[in-house]
């Protein structure tokens, strides 16, 4: 599928460059996002993976401008959506983008539903406002949506309140609300983690169908590699507040370039292998985000670390197709955004 050009002549629906986010906390300054750049094209599915605390949620909340202003500092060279500068929008303009053009599913489903409004009302409200449907039509559409996310007998659950739904059901309602306004970009933060396998498969099918029929793009934040494999076109791996590798989903699984990604994939038990043996675990723990090292954040756990790693933070540069990284680096010194054309990139000094 060739995406059409957008108003600004590019193919990127969302483009983020040089994003930095810090939080003020009792423990000190948390360096949650450090120089993150990426873009998403129309209809494309980007998976953002990484362990808890590595900055995934902070990245998305920064882009959506949903972080509390007095406790956080966000700066970026560029955050644009359909060629429009999101950093320059006023609050009202930003609200309109979030409601109608970018659908969001948050990590904690119960906290994001209004406890005193019925499930049905929360859905019809957004349909009436954003799609300008009448009451009747909104109700029919809402029931359809609830059915499509796997709520059994949705008409009879329409007037239930959130506390009458299980955690997994609230999650599905959130997904239905996010999809209701037919957004061109869906941002989902670990949306299926709390769901069981069959419901999860159902939701992933639904989302894939929407991508195909409506060219909906999405950013799917997850730590579940099986979700990544079945859903994403492209994957960005985060560690210590930075994107350390990005590649097509297939390529990432077949030929991971960054030692962290390699370690993650190697630590998965094999399905085909006979006999058990020990798993190849990554030793140590993720870094403290208030005290990130000056060099590579993965250095303390990396089997390939050498002196340069602790001195200088490696930038995200093209990973070779058999070409030594060093040679490629000589040709690309400037900072580039992660984009579909760019192929695989890794932030690592090691040449393999």
């Amino acid at each position: 599928m060739t995406p059409e050009l957008l108003d600004d002549g590019s193919r990127d629906l969302l483009r983020v460059r040089g994003l930095h986010t810090q939080f003020l906390s009792d423990r000190g300054l948390v360096h949650a996002v450090n120089d993150v750049s990426f873009s998403v094209r129309r209809g494309e599915a980007l998976a953002l993976v990484g362990e808890s605390g590595c900055g995934k949620t902070a990245t998305m909340l920064s882009v959506l401008r949903l972080l509390p202003r007095h406790r956080s500092r966000v700066r970026a060279d560029e955050v644009s959506f359909k060629g429009r500068d999101l950093l320059g929008l006023d609050d009202e303009g930003m609200r309109r983008v979030r409601g109608a053009e970018i659908g969001m599913i948050f990590q904690d489903p119960r906290a994001s539903l209004n406890p005193v409004l019925t499930i049905g009302r929360q859905l019809t409200e957004s349909l009436e406002v954003h799609l300008r449907l009448g009451r009747r039509a909104a109700r029919d559409r809402a029931i359809e949506l609830l059915e499509s996310v796997g709520i059994p007998r949705p008409a009879s659950r329409f007037d239930d309140f959130p506390h009458q739904f299980s955690g997994g059901m609230c999650q599905r309602v959130m997904i239905a609300i996010a999809l209701s306004c037919e957004p061109s970009l869906l941002i989902a933060d670990e949306p299926t983690t709390a769901l069981d396998a069959t419901i999860q498969a159902q939701i992933l099918d639904l989302v894939s169908e929407l991508r195909a029929t409506r060219e909906m793009a999405m950013i799917w934040i997850t730590h579940d590699l099986s979700v990544v494999a079945s859903l994403a076109d492209r994957v960005a791996v985060m560690y210590g507040g930075s994107i350390v590798e990005t590649a097509g989903a297939r390529r990432l699984f077949d030929a991971p370039a960054h030692p962290y990604t390699q370690g993650l994939l190697a630590s998965l038990p094999a399905l085909g292998e006979e006999g058990r043996g020990r798993l190849t675990a990554i030793p140590g723990q993720p870094p403290d985000m208030t005290r990130l090292p000056e060099g590579c954040a993965f250095a303390a756990r990396c089997p390939h670390a050498f002196d340069r790693c602790t001195l200088e933070r490696p930038p995200l540069l093209p990973a070779g197709k058999g070409v030594p990284l060093r040679e490629q680096r000589a040709h690309s010194s400037e900072k580039q955004a992660v984009s579909a054309e760019a192929g695989a990139r890794a932030a690592c000094w090691w040449d393999g």
Binding site: E51, S52, S166, G168, L195, D196, A197, T198, I199, A201, H223, L225, S226, V228, A229, S230, L252, F253, D254, A255, P256, Y260, Q262, G263, L264, L265, A266, S267, L268, P269, A270, L271, G272, E274, R276, R278, L279, T280, A281, I282, P283, Q285, P286, R301
Partner: protein, 265 residues
């Protein structure tokens, strides 16, 4: 040889109340006729979708919940027929490791104290003996015993799970029920904990009931696997057979969603 654990026709029904008057509206058949045997040194995987009754099976085996009916025979002793005193004597031999490391440890107790708690309750060890045993347990699970004075919130999820494992090992159990022991842990930490579980099993001859929805880990760790659906076991086979020729549609759906082996074949 008698199995270490035999569960026969286990049922647990919860009654459900609705509305202002708390009318009894029906019952949830959380566990509805579950039978299996667990042999010494064996690891049995228990898999199935959320709400199918896995945790309830675990809790009834440990008598944290009274079963509605069915028999639980531990090392030849029928737990329902035995006196409270004898049951108390059996308790230390069955332990559990939980998914949620936040709520399974008392947030106000330092971790050394948490690990020592079962020793306090079930043994007549002196303070010094307890301290030595806690140090020993911490080193078994790969924690520095100098950290014994810290509170749980000062630890990462993986470290808290190590504390939970040390605590479960304190009374030298025969059986440990692991209820989703790695699902709240980070991907890079899961393999560390799974290796630890395998190591201590070998060292202490432990028997595991391993509850998980991570089929890769189940295949890696388990000898046999039972697949549960709506309170019943719908399929039970050796891990090898189950993964080669899954019989139940649910098992097949799960297997088909797994990513290919990356890098190596």
């Amino acid at each position: 040889m008698t199995p270490l654990l035999e569960v026969v026709g286990l049922k647990k029904h919860f009654s459900v109340h609705r509305g202002m008057m708390q009318r009894r509206a029906g019952s949830v058949r959380a566990v509805d006729g579950v039978s299996f045997r667990l042999h010494r040194g064996e690891t049995l995987g228990l898999v199935g979708e959320s709400g199918c009754g896995k945790t309830t099976v675990a809790r009834t085996i440990l008598r944290l919940t009274e079963p509605t009916s069915g028999r639980i025979v531990f090392d030849g002793v029928d737990l329902a027929a035995v006196s409270p005193v004898a049951l108390r004597a059996l308790r230390p031999r069955m332990q559990m490791i939980f998914q949620d490391t936040h709520s399974s440890l008392n947030p106000r107790l330092n971790v050394g104290r948490s690990i020592a708690e079962p020793l306090l309750e079930h043994t007549s060890m002196t303070r010094g003996q307890r301290r030595d045993r806690v140090g020993e347990l911490m080193s078994i699970v790969g924690l520095d015993s100098k950290l014994a004075g810290r509170l749980p919130h000062e630890f990462s999820g993986g470290q808290r799970q190590r504390v939970g494992i040390a605590r479960a090992l304190a009374l030298k159990p025969d059986l440990i029920i692991c209820d989703e022991p790695i699902s709240s842990l980070d991907i890079s930490i899961q393999a560390q904990i799974v290796n630890l579980l395998a190591d201590i099993q070998e060292e202490f001859g432990l028997t595991y009931l391993f509850i998980s929805h991570d089929l890769r880990m189940v295949k890696h760790l388990c000898d046999r696997v039972a697949v549960m659906n709506e309170g019943k076991i719908v399929e039970m086979a050796s891990a090898r057979t189950l993964f080669r020729e899954p019989d139940h549609p649910y098992t097949r759906a799960l297997l088909s969603s797994l990513p290919r082996r990356p890098g190596r074949s």
